[in-house]
Amino acid sequence: MQKIDTVSRQLMLESLKHYAEQKLPFDFLRKSDAENYFSAEKVKEIYKTLGINLLLIPREYGGLASSTSDIYRICQALARIDLGIATAIFATFLGSDPINVGGTEEQKKYWFSKMARENLLVAYGATEADAGSDLIALKTRAEQIIKDGKITHYKINGSKMWISNGGIADLYTVLALAPGGPCWFLIPRDTKGFTQLKHEDKHGIRLANTAGLCFENVIVPAENLIGLKEGQGFLQAQAVFGYTRLMVAALALGAGQEAVENAIIYANNRVQAGSPLSHKQGYMHKLITPHYIKFEAARSFIDQIAKILDTNNYGQATEGAIAKYYASRAANAAADDAIEALGGFGYTKDFPVEKIKRDVKITCIYEGTSEIMEMTIYRGRWQEHLKTRGNFYLDKAKEISTDIYKDIGGKALSLGLNALNDILEECRLNRLTRHQHITLELGRLIASAEVAFAFIKQAQSGSVVEGCPFNLETIKTMARINAKNVALEIASSGAKLLNSALEKPTEKDLYISEIAKECCGIIKDMDSISSVLKDTFRK
């Protein structure tokens, strides 16, 4: 079946941008943020005008059946407009995921057609007061109602919290525990006994409605059980974790880029001590340039994983966690520095960076906190390390130690990956992973290493990622800087990490002095990237 092609994707992004310029100007967003209100009608207007809600709906039911590569670009662009609105739209995508993954053909036909035809707002109801990342603690119950020996209905009791679109959705996919195990139910808003609680007064994404849900003897027909089989709920949720977390990574990336680009434009115009701030090395190297390098690294990683998901549909749970963890942390650090970069102006609500800083924090929290991501990354790669008998990172190190990676930081990162392997081996031999402290830190180092690896692979591929505003030379320079920084970070953090858990210092040198030697030229490369950034983002 026909897919959305590159030109269509570009045109969709342009239509979205123009829509936002016309209908969602900053003053309006700022007012809505202050009032903690953005109506369901506004979200529906976006659906109706653009048809953005059709992206995840299969073609045969009136949708556009977009790929993961399409959706991540749209999520990134939405987040540049407003992360709250992006969340509301993303929640509709998320809400339809269980149907996509586990729905029967008949369910897909009925519900997707209805969602497309009526521009339904959808919510995804999983989280409860005691069941966040630990969904096993789920308390919402679905009781079978049996007539003539056949299950005709389910009676649902319980509550959900922090549900995006919770107060405004037309349709809810709700996780509840049935006798045969957890399952997803489709519950329309007007179902008797189902109430939506107040919109939360949040730190950020205040344009996204977030509310609790309450179910008191809510009766739903048995055909509203997704997949018509009990006990599939967790599997259906887990199947798309790689995908959904990749989307959060794209949301973080978009918001972070918007913050930093705002700061660069400001720095180009703000003259202090005789020259624009963007001409000052200290300012750029500290507050701007490192962040944009991380964004380009994240973009490469997200794009590569999206392409894998376009072929395989599901899985990539560890990669999704890496993308989300890396991009959300990079975006938060960048938004924080964007305020710093604008000084007093940045601290006011007159400039968008203050709002972005509050908004972007959510990307470290929803779809699993950064700490859950660290655990997921560690667990996924620890298994790989054991399964390959320590060859997982050695193979990667070998791959990039060849000449073709020489000018883009291949040697430095290769040493870094060797160091990472040594760290993992030391942890295994000394049973250090009994410390949760160590496992989380390993998650952090692994994420940086794998994103840096993806980045230099991208730089070596001879082309830049679609949507990247830089040429290949700039990407190569960024990849080189990043590879060196990451390698040094692995070696130095690794040394501290191991020694802090060991009785005697590790005998592994983690290639620290060799990596340090590879760091020659970073400042010159940073100067060249700073110059490109100041020329690229100007008004």
Partner: protein, 262 residues
């Protein structure tokens, strides 16, 4: 009714900055549909609504220029044609008008050709009139609106210094359009963009449109560019906000200081 619209993909000049040597900084500058052509397209779509006209869109440029044609198809145009060939490279407005007129002859029949007043990258406003010249059909330039459409004639509003004229023209004809200041450019929905993937879009070479190769590219271009440079910027004047009386006194003081009055 058959309408042909000539579209050009241009760098978004609102985002272009100049180097001190007068060359353009093109890094990160997006390519867009020339805004005047965008208005011409919107005008044609209005005519289509009223008359059921068939709209064909035509552009010349590298393969990336097909994006503006796809945008037009998504907005409601019926067919797209891209002239793309190394033989076209370096063409000035005259050679471009020749190439486009060759394509128009092949696309024929047509009743109306719409062009933007000019492209925002070159600002020449020559290509449209030159197409009319090459095709030997009547033309009206600098129109802000098409007032009335009938099978044989068109009534248009042409802007002139200090006012406008209402003119009637016999079809087939070429009209160039200028964009009203408050015009909101239409952009298509995701669904229309997707559907446009299946609309006919043809790429033609110089040979496909039976163009004489000697009349194309640098060879066929009489224009010689001596130098491109940004105009000298005038100094900003002073702005003062005062009451009417104080303003009068202030003006007298300035004129006296400059010895215009005593």
């Amino acid at each position: 009714m058959n309408i042909i619209i000539c579209l050009k993909q241009v760098p978004d000049t609102a985002k272009v900055k100049m180097n001190p040597d007068g060359t353009l900084i093109r890094t990160g500058v997006p390519s867009i549909l020339n805004p005047y052509d965008h208005f011409a397209l919107a005008t044609a779509l209005e005519i289509k609504k009223q008359t059921g006209a068939k709209i064909k869109v035509l552009s010349m440029g590298p393969s990336q220029a097909s994006k503006v044609l796809r945008l037009a198809l998504a907005l409601g145009a019926d067919e797209g044609y891209l002239l793309s060939d190394k033989a076209f490279a370096g063409s000035d407005t005259w050679a471009t008008a020749y190439a486009l007129s060759c394509a128009i002859k092949k696309i024929s029949p047509f009743d109306l050709i719409l062009c933007g007043q000019m492209a925002i990258d070159g600002d020449t406003a020559q290509t449209g009139p030159e197409i009319a010249g090459q095709l030997n059909i009547p033309q009206i330039t600098f129109c802000s609106n098409i007032e009335e459409v009938s099978p044989k004639t068109l009534t248009v509003k042409k802007l002139i210094d200090g006012g406008h004229q209402i003119l009637e023209i016999t079809l087939p004809a070429l009209i160039t359009l200028t964009t009203p200041h408050n015009f909101v450019f239409p952009y298509p929905s995701f669904t229309d963009i997707f559907k446009a993937q299946e609309k006919p879009l043809f790429t033609w070479t110089a040979q496909d449109v039976n163009a004489d190769i000697n009349k194309l590219g640098l060879k066929g271009s009489p224009t010689r560019v001596a130098k491109i440079y940004p105009p000298v910027q005038k100094q900003k004047g002073a702005v003062k906000t005062l009451s009417a009386d104080d303003t009068a006194l202030e003006i007298i003081k300035i004129l006296q200081a400059q010895k215009v009055i005593k």
